[in-house]
C-alpha cells in the first residue's frame, strides 16, 4: 500500500485508451466497473476532443459479481462491435476486473467476431499509464504485422540507392505533450531534407497504416515511453533501425538529423536548422541575464532529459535538479544527472518533488502540471514541459516542442516566467520609486504571481540563533526583492556555519562573496 495524494500517471488501462483514442477504426472493450468511465473526460475536457474515446466499458455492478460478469462482458463486446463496427478490437481489464479473473481476452478471442481481437494484460497493481500505452501499441502492432507476415510474402527489396528514404514516426498519442504539433513540425523538417514519412502511429493511424510500418527504412522513436518496446521489436523482426535521438531542442534536432543521415546513408545539409531563432535569441545581449539561472527539471523521462540539455546548453541556465516519474527511464535519467553533477530524483511522489524544489529554491521550474502548482505555492516561475498537463497545455495555436519551431517555442515559453532582462535592470535602478516597491509584481505577470517577498516571509523559517544587526538589516532591504530571500538565507547559512550569532554588514558582504558565482 502506498499513500498517493496526487498521481503523475493514471492506471495502465488509461494508456490503452490513449492508444485506442489516437487511432482510427480501433475500439477498446474495457471490463471495468462504473466510475472507470471518468477516463472519457480526460480526452473530452483536457484535450477538448470532439468525440468520446472509442471505449465501451462493461460497467459491472455488485449484482453482476459472480457468474454473470463474464456474460456481461461478452454481451458488451458484441454490442460494442455491432454499434461501432471497428476494424480491430482491443480487450482489457481495468484494476477491479483484473481481480475477477474473467479472462476477457480469452473470452473475446473465442467470440467469433469477424475482426482481429487483441487481448491486453494491463497489470494494474504494478504498472502505470505510459507502460499501458506502450504495451497496447506493441501488442497491436505485433498482432497486425504477425498476421500479415504469415499470409503475405515479404515486400520486394527496395534496392536502388537513389530511392527516396522514408521513416515512421512512432509514439505520438492523444493526451501526450504537444504530440499533434510535434508531428507536424517533424514532418515539415523531414520533408525539407528530402526524407519521406511512411507512417505516423498511433496518432491518426488506422490498421492499414500499421500494416505498412515495415515499408519504411527506419523507425523514429519520438516518444520512447510509448514507442521504444515497439521499435525494438520492429528492429528485431523487420531489421528496421531505430533513430533514438529525440529532436527536442536545437542541438538535439541537429543530432537527430545527423543520426538520420548516418542510418539512412543520405546527406543532410546543416541548412535544415539554420532558420531556428533560438541560437541568436540566446546569444543576444538581453539574454545575458539568463546566465546561470537555477533551474529544476522534472517530467517524463524523455522530456526531462531533452529539456535539461536545452536548459543547460542552449539557454545558459544551471540545472540544479533533474528527475522523472518514469521509472522505465530511470537509468538514462540517472546517467544524465550524473553528467550534470547531480543525483537524479526518481519518484512518483509529488510530495518528495515539492520537498526537493523547496530545498533547492530554483529560479525556474520546468515540470508537469504538478510542479506548476508546487512552483506557484513557492512563488517560483514555472513552465510546463511534460504530462500530466492541464487544459491550458493543449493550446489552440501551433506550439510544438520538437524541431526548429519547437526550439523557438521553448525559448519563449521558458523566458516568459522569468523577470525580463531589461526589466530586471530597471527594477534594480528604480527600486525605491513609489511604483517600484517590493510588492509590485513584474508588469507582465498577473496579480499575485510576482509577490516573492510575501512568499519568502511566510515560508522561510529563519535560522534560529542568528541575529541581524540594524545596519545589516537595512542593507539587506536595499537588495532587490526578487533576490533578497536568497541573500538572506545564504547569509544566515554562512553565519551559522561559522558559528556567528550576529550578522553585521561585513557578514552580509562576506557571504555575498562566498556564494557569488
Amino acid at each position: 500500500m502506498e499513500l498517493t495524494l496526487w498521481t503523475y500517471e493514471g492506471p495502465p488501462h488509461v494508456g490503452a485508451i490513449r492508444v485506442a483514442a489516437s487511432m482510427r477504426g480501433v475500439h477498446l472493450v474495457l471490463h471495468a466497473p462504473q466510475g472507470d468511465t471518468y477516463a472519457d473526460l480526460l480526452f473530452t475536457m483536457i484535450e477538448r476532443d470532439g468525440k468520446r474515446p472509442p471505449v465501451t466499458y462493461t460497467t459491472f455492478q455488485a449484482r453482476d459479481l459472480g457468474a454473470s460478469t463474464a456474460e456481461k462482458f461478452l454481451n458488451t463486446l458484441q454490442a460494442a462491435y455491432d454499434h461501432h463496427k471497428p476494424s480491430l478490437l482491443l480487450v482489457a481489464d481495468s484494476c477491479t476486473a483484473e481481480l475477477l479473473q474473467d479472462q476477457p481476452g480469452t473470452l473475446a478471442e473465442t467470440a467469433g467476431l469477424p475482426v482481429p481481437v487483441v487481448p491486453l494484460e494491463m497489470a494494474a497493481y504494478s504498472r502505470k499509464e505510459n507502460w499501458g500505452a506502450s504495451e497496447t501499441f506493441y501488442h497491436l502492432v505485433r498482432a497486425v504485422l504477425s498476421a500479415q507476415r504469415n499470409s503475405e510474402e515479404k515486400p520486394a527489396d527496395q534496392g536502388s540507392s537513389n530511392r527516396r528514404r522514408t521513416v515512421n514516426l512512432l509514439g505520438p498519442t492523444k493526451l501526450g505533450f504537444r504530440c499533434r504539433d510535434d508531428i507536424q513540425e517533424i514532418q515539415r523538417l523531414l520533408q525539407s531534407v528530402g526524407i519521406g514519412v511512411n507512417v505516423v502511429a498511433p496518432l491518426d493511424a488506422d490498421i492499414n497504416d500499421i500494416s505498412r510500418i515495415p515499408e519504411a527504412d527506419a523507425n523514429v522513436c519520438l516518444y520512447p515511453e510509448v514507442a521504444l518496446t515497439t521499435c525494438t521489436w520492429l528492429e528485431r523482426n523487420f531489421g528496421q533501425p531505430v533513430i533514438r535521438t529525440v529532436p527536442l531542442g536545437f542541438g538535439a534536432t541537429q543530432d537527430f538529423l545527423a543520426e538520420l543521415a548516418g542510418v539512412l546513408q543520405v546527406d543532410i545539409s546543416a541548412e535544415a536548422v539554420a532558420d531556428c531563432r533560438l541560437p541568436w535569441y540566446s546569444r543576444s545581449v538581453d539574454s545575458t541575464y539568463l546566465t546561470g539561472k537555477r533551474v529544476f527539471v522534472f517530467g517524463d523521462g524523455m522530456h526531462a532529459m531533452t529539456c535539461a540539455r536545452v536548459a543547460q546548453q542552449e539557454m545558459g541556465f544551471e540545472v540544479v535538479g533533474l528527475g522523472t516519474y518514469s521509472r522505465e527511464m530511470a537509468r538514462e535519467v540517472r546517467a544524465m544527472a550524473k553528467e550534470l553533477g547531480l543525483d537524479a530524483l526518481i519518484t512518483d511522489d509529488h510530495m518528495v518533488v515539492e520537498q526537493a524544489v523547496s530545498e533547492l529554491r530554483p529560479e525556474l521550474v520546468l515540470g508537469t502540471q504538478m510542479e506548476r502548482h508546487i512552483a506557484k505555492r513557492l512563488g517560483i516561475g514555472c513552465a510546463v514541459i511534460s504530462t500530466p498537463a492541464h487544459v491550458q497545455d493543449y493550446p489552440a495555436r501551433f506550439s510544438p516542442q520538437m524541431g526548429v519551431e519547437g526550439a523557438n517555442v521553448l525559448f519563449d515559453t521558458w523566458v516568459h516566467p522569468l523577470i525580463m532582462g531589461l526589466e530586471e535592470h530597471l527594477l534594480h535602478m528604480f527600486r525605491d520609486d513609489f511604483e517600484f516597491n517590493d510588492h509590485a509584481a513584474p508588469s507582465h505577470l498577473s496579480h499575485g504571481e510576482g509577490t516573492l517577498m510575501a512568499v519568502e516571509d511566510n515560508n522561510v523559517v529563519p535560522i534560529v540563533g542568528v541575529h541581524w544587526e540594524d545596519g545589516a538589516e537595512k542593507e539587506l532591504k536595499k537588495i532587490p526583492f526578487f533576490v533578497r530571500g536568497k541573500a538572506k538565507r545564504n547569509t544566515e547559512r554562512y553565519a551559522e556555519e561559522r558559528g556567528l550569532t550576529a550578522i553585521d554588514i561585513e557578514t552580509l558582504y562576506e557571504a555575498k562573496a562566498h556564494y557569488s558565482r
Binding site: T4, W6, F43, R52, T59, Y125
Partner: protein, 432 residues
C-alpha cells in the same frame, strides 16, 4: 409576474403515471468516490482515505480538475501486487498509511476509510479496520468507514453512504425538545441563509448534517425532524430513522417553488402560523421569482434532455419545467428512490420519457434524434455532443455550485441559460 412564474397549472402537471424505462447497459457516471470532492470541502477537520487502486486516485484528481493548490485532505492508499498476495498484510499496511497521514496532518479529527471496487472485491473489511484504528487513536481521531465503490455506488451515493455511516456515531438526543436536522451537504453560504430563515420562523434548534466540524456532531433522537436538502440520501434517511428521527416530506429546495414548499414543510411541522410563514417567506420568495422571471423569458419553450448522473435530475426537471417553462424530452436518473422522491413525483410534468439506469450508446442516439435545445450530461459526454451541434450543461457543476434555496434560484436558472446565451452570442463554429 408572480402568477406568470408558475404558468403550468397543477392539473396539467400531475403525471398519469411515473414508470421509468429501466436500462441495464453501459453507464457513464462517476462512482461514489467523487463525493469526496465536496465532502472534504464541507467537513474541514476530516481526511478521506480511499483504500483502492491508482484508478481511484486518478479518478478523484481528474474529477476535481487537478486543483492542487493545497495539500489535499484526501488521498488513496494504493493497493499493490504485494497487498493482493496476502490479506493479513493489508491491515498492517493500512495502519502504516494512516500513521503517515496523521504524521503529516496532526490536526485531523476524523479519518474516513473509503472502500473502493478493488477493496470490496478482495473483501478488505474497512469497518473492522475503522474499529481497530478508532481504539488505537481513541480520544484523538474518529475513524469511520463507508463505501464509495463503483460496483455499489454511483456518484452522489458516496455522500449517502458517508452520512449513513456517520449517522450511527451521532450522539443520542435525550431532551424533550424538538430539533430540526437538515440532511445533506450544502455550501456554507446556503447553510447561513437557511439558518436565518429558520430563526425568523421561530424554529430554534437547527442542525446541519454534515457540519463543518466532525467533532461537533448533531444529536439525534425521537424528537428529531429531518428535512432532506439533497435528493440522494435514501440510506442516510433510513439510518437516521433507525435513530428515531422522522422525515418531514417535502420537495427539494431547488427553485422558488421547491424552496417555499421545503420551508413550509418545516414551518407546518413546528406549527408556525400561516401569517408568520408568509411574513418570513414572502420577501425571499418574491426575490427568487423576480430573478427567475428574467430567465423564464430566455428558457421558456426550450427543450431539454438529461442523461443520468447525480440524482438531481428529477427535482431539476420539475424546476426547469414548472418555473422556467422548459419542455423535458428524455430524463434519465441513475436509480429511483420512491421514498425520497415522493413529494417530487406529483409535481412532475407529463409527456416525459423517464429512464432509470443507462445504456449509453442507444441513449446518445436518442439524444441525437430528439435534438433537444439543451442536454444536461456528465463531463465526458458534453464536448462530443457540442461537437455534434447540441448545446450542453455539465452536470457536475450542479454539485459544486450553491444552487439551493430562494437566493440561488436565479443562479440555478443561469446555469442552464448560459449555454443558450452563448449560442446566440457566438458567430463562429457550427452549433446551428
Amino acid at each position: 409576474m408572480t402568477a406568470e412564474v408558475i404558468a403550468v397549472s397543477d392539473s396539467e402537471v400531475v403525471p398519469e403515471r411515473f414508470q421509468p424505462v429501466q436500462e441495464r447497459g453501459q453507464r457513464a457516471v462517476f462512482c461514489g468516490l467523487t463525493s469526496i470532492i465536496w465532502l472534504h470541502r464541507k467537513i474541514q477537520d476530516a481526511f478521506f482515505l480511499v483504500v483502492g487502486s491508482r484508478t481511484c486516485a486518478h479518478l478523484i484528481q481528474s474529477a476535481a480538475g487537478v486543483m492542487i493548490f493545497a495539500e489535499p485532505r484526501f488521498g488513496t492508499a494504493v493497493l499493490g501486487d504485494r497487498d493482493l498476495a496476502g490479506m493479513a498484510d493489508c491491515h498492517d499496511e493500512l495502519d502504516r498509511v494512516v500513521a503517515q497521514v496523521l504524521a503529516r496532518r496532526p490536526e485531523l479529527k476524523s479519518i474516513f476509510l473509503v472502500g473502493s471496487c478493488p477493496s470490496e472485491v478482495i473483501k478488505l473489511d474497512l469497518d473492522n479496520a475503522a474499529g481497530r484504528l478508532g481504539r488505537v487513536y481513541e480520544g484523538q481521531v474518529r475513524f469511520v468507514s463507508f463505501s464509495g465503490s463503483g460496483i455499489e455506488t454511483t456518484f452522489t451515493q458516496g455522500e449517502d453512504n458517508c452520512l449513513a455511516s456517520l449517522a450511527s456515531d451521532l450522539p443520542t438526543d435525550t431532551t424533550a425538545e424538538d430539533r430540526l436536522l437538515v440532511v445533506g451537504t450544502v455550501p456554507d453560504i446556503v447553510e447561513d441563509q437557511f439558518r436565518r430563515l429558520f430563526t425568523q420562523l421561530g424554529i430554534g434548534q437547527v442542525d446541519f448534517f454534515p457540519g463543518s466540524q466532525s467533532t461537533d456532531l448533531p444529536a439525534v433522537g425521537k424528537n428529531t425532524k429531518m428535512l432532506l436538502a439533497q435528493p440522494f440520501l435514501g440510506e442516510t434517511l433510513r439510518a437516521l430513522e433507525s435513530r428515531g428521527a422522522t422525515l418531514l416530506p417535502a420537495p427539494f429546495p431547488l427553485g422558488a417553488e421547491g424552496s417555499e414548499a421545503w420551508f413550509r414543510a418545516a414551518a407546518n411541522a413546528y406549527g408556525v402560523a400561516e401569517e408568520k410563514q408568509a411574513e418570513v417567506l414572502q420577501p425571499p420568495l418574491q426575490r427568487a421569482r423576480a430573478a427567475l422571471g428574467k430567465y423564464r423569458t430566455e428558457l421558456s419553450g426550450k427543450s431539454f434532455s438529461m442523461l443520468p448522473d447525480s440524482q438531481l435530475e428529477i427535482p431539476l426537471a420539475r424546476f426547469l419545467a414548472r418555473e422556467c417553462g422548459m419542455t423535458p424530452k428524455e430524463v434519465g436518473t441513475p436509480y429511483f428512490d420512491a421514498r425520497v422522491m415522493a413529494e417530487e413525483v406529483p409535481l412532475l410534468p407529463s409527456g416525459v420519457d423517464w429512464v432509470e439506469g443507462q445504456d449509453l450508446d442507444p441513449a446518445l442516439d436518442r439524444v441525437r434524434a430528439a435534438k433537444p435545445d439543451l442536454t444536461v450530461c456528465g463531463l465526458g459526454i458534453a464536448n462530443p455532443l457540442e461537437a455534434e451541434g447540441l448545446r450542453t450543461k455539465w452536470s457536475i457543476e450542479l454539485l459544486f455550485t450553491p444552487i439551493q434555496g430562494f437566493e440561488q434560484a436565479g443562479d440555478l436558472a443561469e446555469l442552464f441559460a448560459r449555454p443558450l446565451r452563448r449560442e446566440r452570442a457566438l458567430e463562429v463554429g457550427s452549433w446551428s
